[in-house]
């Protein structure tokens, strides 16, 4: 499956609706960062990655690690929409009745390649997968999405150094630069700018894009595939809460569920967007 253009954008908005619905149903979860990374994530699963929902453990599949694991609503929704498990299962997100735990669970959720949630660790796992591919002579690629707050974790920089050491050109990550984290602006909590220059200094191939422009996302992924001898970081400027007006650019929506009225508003806005894209 390779969605492009409006169909790809519509898929991302449908995943947004599934994600915000899951968080609303659970009355718990992280909508803000799920919305900001959704366009990149949808592009990976609906265009870029070599995956098969019917064969989620195929050893030759491309891998994905959601290093910013709290954005599980985004990952679970994209996986459900892509057919790894029924969309109805999203009602069990964070519920004692199901196995869709608050953070990605590779043991119980089909399609999840790595259990994450403790920030700073996912990139190391992705490095391990990419290193294993080289070691095993496999051609699969490994992708990951990191939060901009997350990169304050020291382990991220350990992994960045290691990926460059082993010239992991089969590794491509997105840094979701939405500029906000739990306590407020990333620039205030722990400034990370300039993120692109830091990655360049660590010997990575760096591409800066608008993380809500699908053409730019696709072009960056294509360029990353052509680069040899170094891993690629796609630094994407995004909007936290993207697609839901009252959540956009509000740190307060990092880890809060909408109430019924707010959910109705979000649903209406997302459905309007989907209708527009599919119309």
């Amino acid at each position: 499956m390779k969605l492009t253009g409006k169909a790809l954008a519509a898929a991302a908005y449908k995943a947004r609706l599934l994600a915000v619905d899951a968080v609303f149903t659970a009355a718990s979860g992280h909508p803000g960062g799920s919305m900001s990374c959704m366009d990149a994530l949808t592009t990976l699963y609906f265009n870029e990655m070599n995956i098969d929902p019917a064969d989620p453990r195929n050893p030759d599949r491309d891998r994905f690690v959601l290093s910013k694991g709290h954005c599980s609503p985004a990952l679970y929704s994209v996986l459900a929409e892509r057919g790894f498990f029924p969309v109805e299962d999203l009602k069990l997100f964070r519920s004692i009745k199901g196995h869709y735990s608050g953070h990605p669970d590779m043991v119980n959720v089909p399609g999840v390649d790595m259990s994450t949630g403790s920030l700073g660790q996912g990139l190391s796992a992705a490095v391990g997968m990419a290193l294993a591919a080289k070691h095993n002579g496999k051609t699969y690629r490994t992708y990951s999405i990191l939060g901009d707050g997350e990169i304050a974790e020291g382990q991220i920089w350990e992994a960045i150094m290691a990926a460059a050491k082993w010239k992991l050109d089969n590794l491509c990550i997105f840094v979701d630069l939405n500029g906000l984290q739990i306590d407020g602006k990333t620039a205030d909590v722990m400034p990370t700018d300039p993120v692109d220059a830091k990655f360049k200094a660590f010997n990575w191939n760096v591409i800066c894009i608008d993380g809500h422009d699908f053409d730019q996302i696709l072009a960056a992924l294509a360029q990353a595939r052509e680069v040899k001898g170094m891993p690629t970081a796609i630094i994407m400027k995004t909007t936290k809460g993207k697609g839901i007006s009252f959540m956009e650019n509000q740190a307060g929506w990092h880890g809060k569920a909408p109430n019924a009225e707010q959910f109705a508003t979000a649903k209406a806005e997302l459905e309007a967007k989907i209708a527009e894209l599919e119309g």
């Binding site: 891998r63 790595m114 259990s115 190391s124 391990g128 990419a130 290193l131 294993a132 591919a133 070691h135």
Partner: protein
């Protein structure tokens, strides 16, 4: 009691030797391969050795990622960093998803010696044992270590293996019918008045303590409990029933390790006096290995006194 060899050396040699038989085995280190003895494997299989630099947290999770792709990683660093610094990486990225990684902590206990308290890990059993599903193993000599390494390569799941620094006697080769099996303790010497349950380099110490006790007419059983988790409950229960009291002995804090595991089990099944011999809630200190072991009372003499104290507590 023949040749002396450090369990870390036996480990390093075993890894290098088994590398050919097990192509899925990969070895990671964090700039300590000369001390952890992963250097033997590195020299023989440079393409399967990954030096991650001084970045233990990253090494631990790289191993987790590799294991999801069918490789069997052994990570190597000092116990204090393997179980201490990277504790949460082991917990969340290896043990929680049940990944097939063996975390190796070398230089466990106070017998690290001169480097002092910062490098003497006396909490690793405790930290690793509390993680659900984690196997925890500390072999007592070079012979047992070799067999433990192969057993762990074949084991499918998260595991912690402790190595120790000093050269110590081989004690298992003289045991008739000795067979290494993860989760099964070894009765090194039978006895009826008290049972000493030990692991690591405290097993040879326990055998010497048993000799001292024999000189006083006391019959001490000695069990080598190389696997702390899962604990060989059957063997512990049998010892409690047959000897009526237990002494545990480990090169570890008396909090949370082998002694704690035995107490936890017996308190709910067959309570008998249990005296714990180990480091008494203190940090280590610098000195030669023998001087430090003596400073903390990790000697046959002190262990024999603990055994007598346990016997005195019997009703």
């Amino acid at each position: 009691m023949a040749d002396k060899i450090a369990t870390r050396n036996a480990y390093g040699e075993a890894l290098a030797e088994l590398g050919e038989k097990y192509p899925q085995l990969v070895v990671l280190d964090a700039d300590l391969s000369g001390a952890t003895m992963s250097k033997f494997f590195a020299a023989k299989f440079p393409d399967r050795f990954f030096d991650c630099g001084i970045a233990e947290a990253n090494m631990t999770v790289i191993a987790a990622g590799m294991s999801t792709c069918g490789l069997k990683p052994f990570t190597n660093t000092f116990a204090i960093f393997a179980a201490g610094r990277a504790y949460e990486q082991v917990r969340n990225s290896i043990a929680y998803p049940g990944l097939n990684v063996t975390v190796v902590g070398s230089h466990g206990g106070v017998s690290v010696g001169e480097d002092g308290a910062t490098h003497q890990c006396i909490e690793d059993f405790s930290l690793m044992r509390t993680i659900p599903g984690m196997l925890v193993c500390c072999p007592c000599d070079g012979n047992e270590m070799r067999q433990a390494v192969e057993a762990l390569i074949n084991y499918n799941g998260p595991a912690y293996l402790r190595l120790e620094r000093p050269n110590t006697e081989i004690v298992t080769d003289s045991i008739e019918g000795y067979k290494f099996e993860l989760g099964k303790g070894v009765t090194m010497k039978d006895g009826s008045d008290v049972t000493i349950i030990a692991n690591g380099i405290m097993v040879p110490v326990a055998l010497k303590a048993a000799d001292l006790l024999a000189g006083e007419g006391i019959s001490a059983r000695v069990i080598d409990m190389h696997t702390i988790k899962p604990l060989d409950e059957e063997l512990v229960l049998k010892a409690a029933k047959e000897t009526g009291c237990i002494v545990t002995s480990e090169e570890h804090s008396i909090i949370g390790g082998l002694g704690a595991a035995v107490c936890e089990f017996l308190s709910g099944t067959y309570p008998v006096p249990v005296v714990r011999h180990g480091v008494n809630d203190q940090f280590g200190r610098s000195g030669s290995a023998n001087a430090v072991l003596e400073y903390f009372g990790l000697t046959p003499e002190v262990l024999a006194e603990k055994a007598k104290a346990a016997i005195a507590l019997k009703k």
